[in-house]
C-alpha cells in the first residue's frame, strides 16, 4: 500500500490527523511560510495575521460548543473577557487602582484559559438544562450580566471607560517587551508575539482536529444531531455539554489573554453584545462545525477591512464621498455577508473551499 497513499486500509489511518501525504506536506509548507512571513512582512501585516490567529482560536472555541455540540452560545465574548482579565491580574503590573501579580507567561496563559473554563463550568448547570433558542437567550443575558460585572469590578478591570494595562510579556524570566537577541537574530516584540500566537494557534487547531476524531468529539456531534437519541445511546449529556462549554471557554480565555496583550490594554466596554456576536458571525461565515472553518472566518474578518480599502482604492472612491464612514461600511458589509452566506452557502467559506478542492482533485473530470 506504500505507493497508494489515498487508499485507506484501516479506520485508524483514515481518521488520523493528517490522513494523507498531501495534507501533511501542505501543513508543513503553510507552517514554514507563516514562520518566514514574520521576517519578511511589514509590521502592519504581522499585526493583522497575529490578530487573525487569535480570532481563529476564539472561533475554534465557539465552534466546539456551537458548531460541534450544537449549543448556541451568544456570550463567547464574555469568556474571552474573563481570560483577558485573568491574564491581566496574574501577569499584569499592580497600580494604585488595579491588582496584578506580574507572573510569567507560562503561568498567565494557561491560567487565563482555566479561569474562563471554570466560569463556563459554573454556569453549566443552567446551560445544560436548556437547548435551542432558550439557551441562546440565556447566553444573551450572560453578555449583559458579564459586561455589568466587568465594568463594576474596578479593582480587577479598572472600571468602565478607563480600563487597565494587560499582562507583561515575560517568558521563563526573560523580559520580551523590548525584543530579544538570539545570537545574530534580533526579534522585535511584535515578531515574538506573532510567533507565540502562531504556535498557540497551531496547537489549538491540532487540538480541535484531534477532538473531532476522539470519543468526546463524536459524542458532541451526536448531541448536536439529536440529544435524546444520544442519551439513549448512553452518552452522558450533562458531562458532555458541560465539558463542551468548558473547553470552548478555555479556547476563548487563551485567545482573550493573548489578544489584549497584543493590543496593550483592555476596557470593559469592549465586551459588548456586538463583540460576542462577531464571533458567531465569524464561525458562520467560516463554516460551522468544521475544523478549518473558523480559521477561514478569522482570516476573512481581519483581512476584510484591508480588502474594502483595496477596492475603494481601485475604483478611486474617496472616503469622504461615501454616505457611511469606513467603520460603518465594514459593519454593514459584514452584516450583509452573514445574511448572504446563510442563504446561499450555509457551509460558509469552508463549503466554497471544499467544492474548489474537490473540483481540482477530480480534474479533468467533473465528479
Amino acid at each position: 500500500m506504500r505507493g497508494r497513499p489515498n487508499l485507506y486500509t484501516d479506520y485508524q489511518k483514515e481518521s488520523s490527523i493528517f490522513s494523507n501525504n498531501t495534507q501533511k506536506s501542505w501543513f508543513g509548507i503553510l507552517v514554514t511560510l507563516s514562520v518566514a512571513f514574520c521576517f519578511l512582512a511589514s509590521d502592519y501585516w504581522i499585526l493583522l495575521l497575529t490578530t487573525s490567529f487569535l480570532i481563529a482560536i476564539a472561533g475554534w472555541g465557539l465552534n466546539i460548543v456551537s458548531g460541534l455540540a450544537g449549543q448556541i452560545n451568544l456570550a463567547h465574548g464574555v469568556f474571552i473577557g474573563v481570560g483577558a482579565y485573568a491574564s491581566a491580574v496574574i501577569g499584569g503590573v499592580a497600580t494604585s487602582s488595579v491588582i496584578g501579580f506580574e507572573l510569567d507567561m507560562i503561568f498567565w496563559l494557561p491560567l487565563a484559559g482555566v479561569a474562563a473554563a471554570i466560569v463556563g463550568l459554573i454556569i453549566a448547570p443552567i446551560t445544560v438544562k436548556l437547548k435551542g433558542l432558550n439557551l441562546a437567550l440565556v447566553t444573551l443575558a450572560l453578555v449583559f450580566i458579564g459586561s455589568h460585572l466587568f465594568s463594576n469590578f474596578k479593582s480587577v478591570t479598572g472600571g468602565a471607560g478607563l480600563g487597565r494595562k494587560v499582562a507583561t510579556l515575560k517568558l521563563f524570566g526573560v523580559n520580551l517587551e523590548r525584543g530579544i537577541e538570539i545570537g545574530t537574530l534580533y526579534l522585535q516584540k511584535n515578531q515574538i508575539l506573532y510567533l507565540v500566537c502562531l504556535l498557540t494557534c497551531i496547537f489549538a487547531g491540532l487540538g480541535v482536529k484531534n477532538l473531532v476524531r476522539s470519543k468526546a468529539g463524536r459524542a458532541y456531534s451526536a448531541i448536536r444531531d439529536g440529544d435524546i437519541a444520544a442519551e439513549a445511546l448512553g452518552i452522558n449529556i450533562f458531562r458532555h455539554k458541560a465539558s463542551a462549554f468548558a473547553l470552548s471557554s478555555f479556547y476563548g480565555g487563551i485567545s482573550g489573554a493573548l489578544f489584549f496583550t497584543v493590543s496593550g490594554g483592555v476596557e470593559p466596554g469592549t465586551f459588548s453584545l456586538l463583540y460576542s456576536i462577531t464571533f458567531v458571525a465569524i464561525v458562520v461565515i467560516g463554516g460551522a462545525g468544521t475544523v478549518l472553518g473558523p480559521l477561514f472566518g478569522a482570516l476573512f474578518y481581519t483581512l476584510f477591512p484591508a480588502l474594502i480599502q483595496f477596492f475603494l482604492h481601485i475604483f478611486e472612491i474617496g472616503e469622504s464621498s461615501l454616505p457611511l464612514n469606513l467603520g460603518q461600511l465594514e459593519r454593514l458589509l459584514f452584516g450583509l455577508f452573514i445574511i448572504l452566506f446563510l442563504i446561499f452557502e450555509p457551509r460558509g467559506l469552508w463549503g466554497i473551499w471544499f467544492r474548489l478542492r474537490n473540483y481540482f482533485k477530480a480534474w479533468p473530470f467533473s465528479y
Binding site: 433558542l133 432558550n134 455589568h148 435524546i228 458571525a281 460603518q328 452584516g335 450583509l336 445574511i339 446563510l342
Partner: protein, 306 residues
Amino acid sequence: MIIFLQATVEGLSLAAIYSLVAIGFVLIYKAMEVLSFAQPALAVVGAGIISSLAVDRGIPFWLALFLGVILTGILGLLIERTFLRPMVGEPVFSVAVLTIGIDILLRTVLDSWIGINPKYMGDPFPTFGNFGAVNIGGVNIKYLELAALITAIILIIILSIFFRKSKYGIAMRATSYDQEAAMAQGINVGRIFGLVWMIAGILAAFAGFFITGGFNTLSQFSFISALRALPAVVIGGLDSIPGAVVGSVIIGLTQGYVAYYQLTFESFVGFSFGNGFSVVAPYIIMFVILIFKPDGLFGTEEVERV
C-alpha cells in the same frame, strides 16, 4: 409609599413598552418558529423614521407617527420577503443568526444617520406634550408614560379582537397551530408570514417611539432598551402572548423598583451592586426563572420524539 407608587407607575409604563416589542417576538415565533433578533432594530428604525419626518422634515406629528409606523411595518414585510423567505425550513440557529445579520444591517444605517447628536422625537401637543408631567397625589406621571400605557392597552385589545374575529387573525392562529394543515385549508401561509412581520414591525415602531420620546431621545444605544423585551418573552414563554405581557410586567416592575430601591437595599445588605444594576436585573430574573421553568411561565412544554 409615594416612592413605591412612583416606581410602580414607571415600571408599568416600561412594561407597556416592552410588551409591544415582546408581542412582536411572540407573533413571529408562533408563526414561523423564528426568534427575531431584528426586533429591537426595527423599534429604533421606526423611531428614526418618525423623528426624521416630524423634526427634520416638519411634517405634523400625527401624520409622521402614522407614516413612521406604517413604513416600519412595510420594512418588516420586506425583510421577511427578501431575507427570511429563502430560509424557511432551515435550522432555527441559522435563522436566528440571520436576524442578527439583519439587526447589524439596520442599526448600522440608522447609526450613521443618528451620528453623535441624539435625535428628538416630535411632540404631539406642542403646548405640554412629551416633556410634560402630571402630579397625582405626589406621584409624578409623565404624559409620555401615560400615553405608552394607554397605547399598549389599546393595541393589545385591537390585536386580541383581530385574532378572534378577523379572517386573517384566525388564519394566523391556524398557521401557528399547524402550517401544513393550514395550507391544506387554503390559507396562504406565505402571506401570513409577511403579515406577521408587518404587525411586529408596527408594534416595534410604537415601542420605539415611546422608548425614545421626550427626554429619552434616540441615540445609538436606544436599541438596548428594546432588547430588554427579550427577557420578558423568555420569562413568559416564547409562544404565549399573555405570557409576553406578564413577562413584560415582571421585567418593567423589576426595573422600576430596582432603580428606586437599590440604594436602600445596598445599605441594608452592605455591598454595592454597581451602577446601572436596574438594567441588568431583568436578565438575572430571567436566569433564575429559567432554572426552574425552562419553557417560561406560560410556554408550552416541548414534547420531543427521537
